[in-house]
């Protein structure tokens, strides 16, 4: 008899995808609202985005939502302490460093959270920071994390032409796209990811940060695995049933004729 291995895990993956794009004076952060476990859906309306209220910094995280929630709470408390000590709100780069430190603090029992932090930096330019589960982070022009990231990231690379960080002189990673174009790109990218990633779908929550405030948009996404095919299949079935068995015979005959024609040509 083989040895029984422990089958309890402190982690679970609730799926979902998060994307952020930085612009010259705006930042777009988006995430789907599907929360799942295994092959089941837990919620179609769960927000993965957290407004840090830190002078325009918004955190979006996919992964294990219990850890995400805990992480958001810790950041909120740490931000309050900062406000008391410095008499002002944290800037986005400061929040980025804080998030990195908070994640590394649990290096040996990590937060199972894949984060994307978006906001406006001290000059008002958009900035996006992307993280791994233990706090390694980088300032980038755009990023995708979560179950659909492998589908989305190559497309964003293609569209947003981020120059290599190895090039000198160092070039800005900010996209030259306008804000409506960036929002459109995000919607397109999520619609595509929803098609092939079962963990992404239901609704898309988009937050657009600009100097004058934050705007939220919600867009519907595909809810089921095969919504389109179900639709066409149902039409065909209805047609067949209404026309009755005569049509079925006709169809069969027609089909056989075609087959005959083909077989005749081969002969």
């Amino acid at each position: 008899m083989t040895k029984q291995h422990a089958n309890w895990s402190p982690y679970d993956n609730n799926g979902g995808t998060c994307v952020a794009i930085a612009g010259s004076d705006y930042c777009v952060i988006a995430a789907d609202t599907r929360m799942s476990t295994g092959y089941s859906i837990l919620s179609r309306d769960y927000s993965k985005i957290h407004n840090c209220k830190a002078d325009k910094a918004v955190l979006s995280s996919s992964g294990f939502q219990a850890d995400v929630k805990a992480l958001q709470k810790v950041l909120k408390s740490r931000h309050l302490v900062y406000q008391h000590q410095h008499n002002k709100q944290m800037s986005c780069p400061a929040m980025a460093q804080l998030l990195s430190n908070t994640l590394y603090f649990k290096r040996f029992f990590p937060y199972y959270a894949f984060n994307v932090l978006g906001g406006l930096d001290e000059e008002g330019k958009g900035c996006v920071f992307t993280y791994d589960a233990v706090g390694s982070y980088e300032k980038v022009g755009y990023s995708a994390q979560g179950s659909g990231s492998t589908l989305i990231m190559p497309f964003l690379d293609n569209q947003l032409k981020s120059p290599s960080p190895l090039l000198l002189p160092a070039q800005d990673a900010i996209t030259p796209l306008s804000e409506p174009e960036a929002v459109d790109l995000v919607k397109t990218v999520f619609a595509s990811a929803t098609e092939r990633d079962i963990y992404t779908g239901d609704k898309l929550e988009i937050m657009i940060l600009k100097a004058d405030g934050i705007r939220t948009e919600v867009m519907e996404l595909r809810k089921t695995l095969s919504e389109c095919w179900q639709h066409t299949l149902s039409i065909v079935l209805i047609r067949i049933s209404t026309l009755g068995s005569l049509c079925y015979l006709e169809l069969c005959l027609k089909f056989s004729c075609v087959v005959n024609r083909f077989s005749f040509s081969y002969l």
Binding site: K73, V74, K76, S77, L80, V81, H84, Q85
Partner: protein, 272 residues
């Protein structure tokens, strides 16, 4: 009280059952400049007199935000007050984190009082030399508490602590019955008038006082100099008119122009 042989240690009782060190700590509160608190059913106002060490220095901050729904005004050893404010902030943040709801004011003052009591029963510690007026709003309404160095706390409708606070207390005693139903504006006006009582003769200017408000749908915040000066102008003109009317009005008009940019920049940039 005079010096006696039972006042060296905080852990020594006197034959008459008093702890002199604790009582001396309460005297320290009276040395600080005045701080005043008043509450209505829906709002709490905390006000303090801005005293600077010398003409060269900025004044010390005496009112601290603990949370959106709690503020504290201190009188006495400001260093002790700063440390206790930091403790209150930390308690409030921890409570919000654990219970996802604001810390009820009554719970906070009990913890503060217990912390103060510890210092009255350890031979290697000394009592905190600061009195705290804790004002806050929670589910059970608006509250104002006074925490002593002795570890006692009391709830008040209105109270004043610090030097020359008796004058303010007399003023408040005359008016406190109406405070519960007061509007926010009347409450602020009464606070500034109470401050004026402690100044005893000095002309009241907005640079001399700090006023803070919190209430239902209104998180804790400080009033800016212009708003304070506006309230002062509504009643300062009355006694001035009895003297040389035109001159006094010109003075009052010049005052806001001077204090326009002052505000919070005058306060020493302490950690809090």
């Amino acid at each position: 009280m005079f010096r006696n042989q039972y006042d060296t240690d905080v852990t020594t009782w006197s034959p008459t059952g008093r702890l002199f060190q604790v009582e001396y700590a309460m005297e320290a509160v009276k040395q600080g400049s005045a701080a005043i608190g008043l509450r209505s059913r829906s709002h709490v106002v905390l006000a303090s007199v801005n005293k600077a060490q010398s003409e060269l220095s900025s004044h010390q901050r005496k009112i601290f935000k603990v949370d959106d729904h709690i503020g504290v005004a201190i009188a006495g050893l400001t260093a002790d007050g700063r440390v206790l404010s930091r403790y209150m902030r930390s308690e409030s943040i921890n409570h919000s984190f654990t219970y996802e709801s604001p810390l009820p004011v009554g719970r906070l003052v009990v913890r503060l009082a217990d912390k103060a009591q510890v210092c009255t029963q350890r031979s290697w510690k000394r009592p905190y030399g600061v009195g705290l007026l804790v004002g806050g709003l929670d589910e059970s309404g608006a509250h104002l508490y006074y925490n002593c160095p002795s570890g006692n706390y009391f709830e008040y409708q209105a109270f004043a602590i610090g030097s020359r606070s008796q004058a303010a207390k007399t003023y408040l005693e005359r008016r406190f019955k109406s405070f519960n139903e007061s509007s926010r504006e009347d409450l602020i006006k009464d606070a500034i008038l109470a401050i004026r009582e402690t100044l005893q003769g000095e002309t009241l200017k907005s640079s001399l006082c700090t006023v803070s408000v919190l209430g239902v749908d209104e998180p804790f915040h400080f009033l800016d100099q212009e708003s304070i000066q506006k309230v002062i102008d509504t009643f300062e003109k009355v006694p001035e008119e009895e003297e040389d009317g035109g001159e006094a009005e010109a003075e009052a008009a010049a005052a806001p122009a001077e204090q326009g940019g002052a505000g919070d920049q005058d306060v020493a940039p302490m950690e809090m």
